[in-house]
């Protein structure tokens, strides 16, 4: 492995977290997704699920099943930790994640772009310049979290970064595109939220009746275009 070795610690008594370094980086997120793919495919007895995040992977497990399957370890935690360590040693041999490129239409009209004015003014730019910079880059989906199908994407050009709202809105409309720092995300449901809203998409991020209910997944590449 390149760089520092990751920290592995219990996330309660039924999950471990592998932390590659507490930062938003493509390189660390790539490691996270590779490890996730390995764990998902290997399906050790007692495995429940993984949660990939920016720079960490958490693995949830069934303590009883692990203890039965790996009696040579003193705890289920030790058994899973050992499994993860072995996986980490072989990480560089695993194939890289092939990102899907997904294009998402955004309506930047005033009635949807609730905070575009604010984002423009904190950055001393015109609204049209914010839109142009925002739509010129391909973003990575680092993780899904917060709401079903809510994708945390980045990183935004520094010129259009904006702080979260001091007081979150009690209702952000579904489909709203928000900015927080150098992250962007799409509100998959109507929800309270504190991100600066710059537009709205009609693409459904969360369709509960589908077998795969979320439109995006970690590792995807996303490009926005104005409609």
């Amino acid at each position: 492995m390149n760089g520092k070795s990751p920290k592995i610690f219990p996330l309660g008594d039924a999950a471990v977290t592998v932390d590659f370094g507490n930062e938003i980086s493509l390189e660390l997120n790539e490691k996270v997704l590779r490890l996730a793919a390995f764990v998902e495919i290997t399906q050790f007895p007692g495995f429940i699920e993984t949660v990939p995040a920016y720079s960490s992977l958490s693995v949830f497990y069934d303590v009883l099943k692990i203890r039965k399957a790996f009696p040579e370890f003193e705890t289920a935690f030790e058994a899973v930790k050992n499994f993860v360590e072995t996986a980490l040693e072989n990480l560089s041999e695993l194939p890289e994640n092939e990102p899907r490129l997904i294009e998402i239409p955004v309506d930047f009209a005033e009635q949807h772009a609730l905070d575009l004015e604010f984002v423009a003014s904190v950055n001393n730019l015109e609204k049209s310049e914010i839109i142009e910079i925002f739509t010129s880059k391909v973003y990575r989906v680092f993780l899904l979290g917060f709401l079903p199908g809510f994708a945390y994407m980045g990183e935004l050009d520094e010129r259009i970064a904006a702080p979260r709202k001091d007081a979150p809105r009690s209702k952000v409309p579904r489909g709203s595109i928000g900015i927080a720092g150098r992250q962007t995300g799409i509100y998959s449901l109507e929800s309270p939220g504190g991100w600066q809203i710059i537009g709205k998409t009609d693409v459904e991020m969360f369709t509960p009746e589908n077998e795969n209910p979320t439109f995006l997944q970690a590792g995807d590449s996303v490009k926005f275009f104005s409609v």
Binding site: G12, A15, Y54, V63
Partner: protein, 324 residues
């Protein structure tokens, strides 16, 4: 076969043991707050442990049976009555067509569970019948039960079973104290607490705030401080994760927690103590006891062993009766 909600109560939802496998899509597990109570009454009735039940908060609903049914109530004691006759928790109860189930007062605990022999007829969403209140899906029409709602159940019973005298032994029934000591293991940022905060955390009482719900229990107590400010990028959290909020107060994430979070993780409630915690309500007070992962696993294994004995015992009784 159905149950009609004459009154809905403040928050009654359909839950099972949770929805696994979809957290990486931002879909959390939901499920019953007190999973032990659910498992106990389901086993008692001969249901699958994961059978969907009704999770009831107080003020509780008033329900009318439209057909005979066998039910069991567990978890909180809300003074359940059938028509005007008090019934006990943790026992199979025969309810007749047209009888009314109501709850008179909060005696102990904060979440009661109603299971019905044969189970409710509820469709799965992503392999679970639990209600996801935020996404308005799963369970009964994705939300809490409303007056006039009718839930179907699968089995009806012509008459009361002849032998009907089994119940859950006291050793298995959790004791719902209002000032319990809750065991936890340290979280990744525990070591970042100042010395005095670490001591406060381990010795002082914290009380459950009124604005606690199925997403999280907010605690109020002496504020805790970190040695240095920590900025964390979001990562997975779990039911039982104890986070330190920017103001110095703690929150314990509960069944409807979000899948990821970015506040410092002070600790994690052990699995064996989550049901005890889940039965607390506003102004109840807890203390934390820090234990090792090994001990946490041990208490879980011990509990599962006892539960397994109970399962075997129940199966034996149920087989006896079915042979008569």
């Amino acid at each position: 076969m159905s149950l009609i909600f004459q009154k809905s109560g403040i928050l009654a939802t359909i839950q099972d043991l949770g929805r696994n496998g979809f957290r990486r899509f931002g879909i959390n597990s939901n499920g019953a707050m007190d999973k032990t109570a659910v498992r106990l009454i389901n086993i008692l009735l001969g249901n699958a442990e994961n059978e969907a039940v009704l999770e009831i908060h107080f003020p509780a609903p008033v329900l009318e049976f439209r057909e005979n049914a066998i039910i069991a109530i567990g978890g909180a004691d809300f003074g359940a009555k059938i028509d005007e006759k008090p019934i006990e928790n943790w026992r199979p109860i025969f309810a007749r067509k047209r009888q009314i189930l109501s709850f008179s007062k909060k005696n102990s605990g904060n979440r009661a569970y109603l299971s019905i022999k044969g189970g409710f007829q509820i469709e799965d969403w992503l392999n679970s019948k639990s209600t996801n209140l935020a996404a308005k899906i799963g369970g009964f029409e994705g939300g809490k039960l409303k007056p006039g709602d009718r839930i179907l159940f699968r089995e009806k019973f012509e008459k009361r079973p002849v032998k009907f005298d089994y119940f859950i032994s006291n050793s298995l029934i959790p004791e719902y104290k209002i000032t319990p000591t809750i065991r936890m293991i340290v979280g990744a940022e525990f070591q970042n607490l100042t010395g005095s905060s670490e001591e406060i955390f381990q010795t002082e009482e914290f009380s459950i705030s009124a604005d606690s719900n199925r997403m999280g229990f907010r605690l109020s107590g002496k504020p805790l401080y970190l040695l240095d400010k920590i900025e964390l990028v979001s990562s997975a959290v779990d039911f039982g994760t104890i986070q330190l909020l920017p103001g110095g107060q703690l929150i314990i994430l509960m069944a409807d927690h979000q899948t990821t979070g970015g506040y410092p993780r002070i600790g994690h409630i052990i699995s064996a103590d989550l049901p005890v915690l889940a039965q607390l309500g506003a102004n109840d007070k807890i203390r934390f006891e820090l234990i090792s992962v090994k001990k946490a696993e041990k208490s879980l294994l011990n509990f599962e062993k006892e539960l397994n004995f109970f399962k075997i015992g129940c199966k034996f009784r149920q087989n006896q009766y079915s042979r008569r």
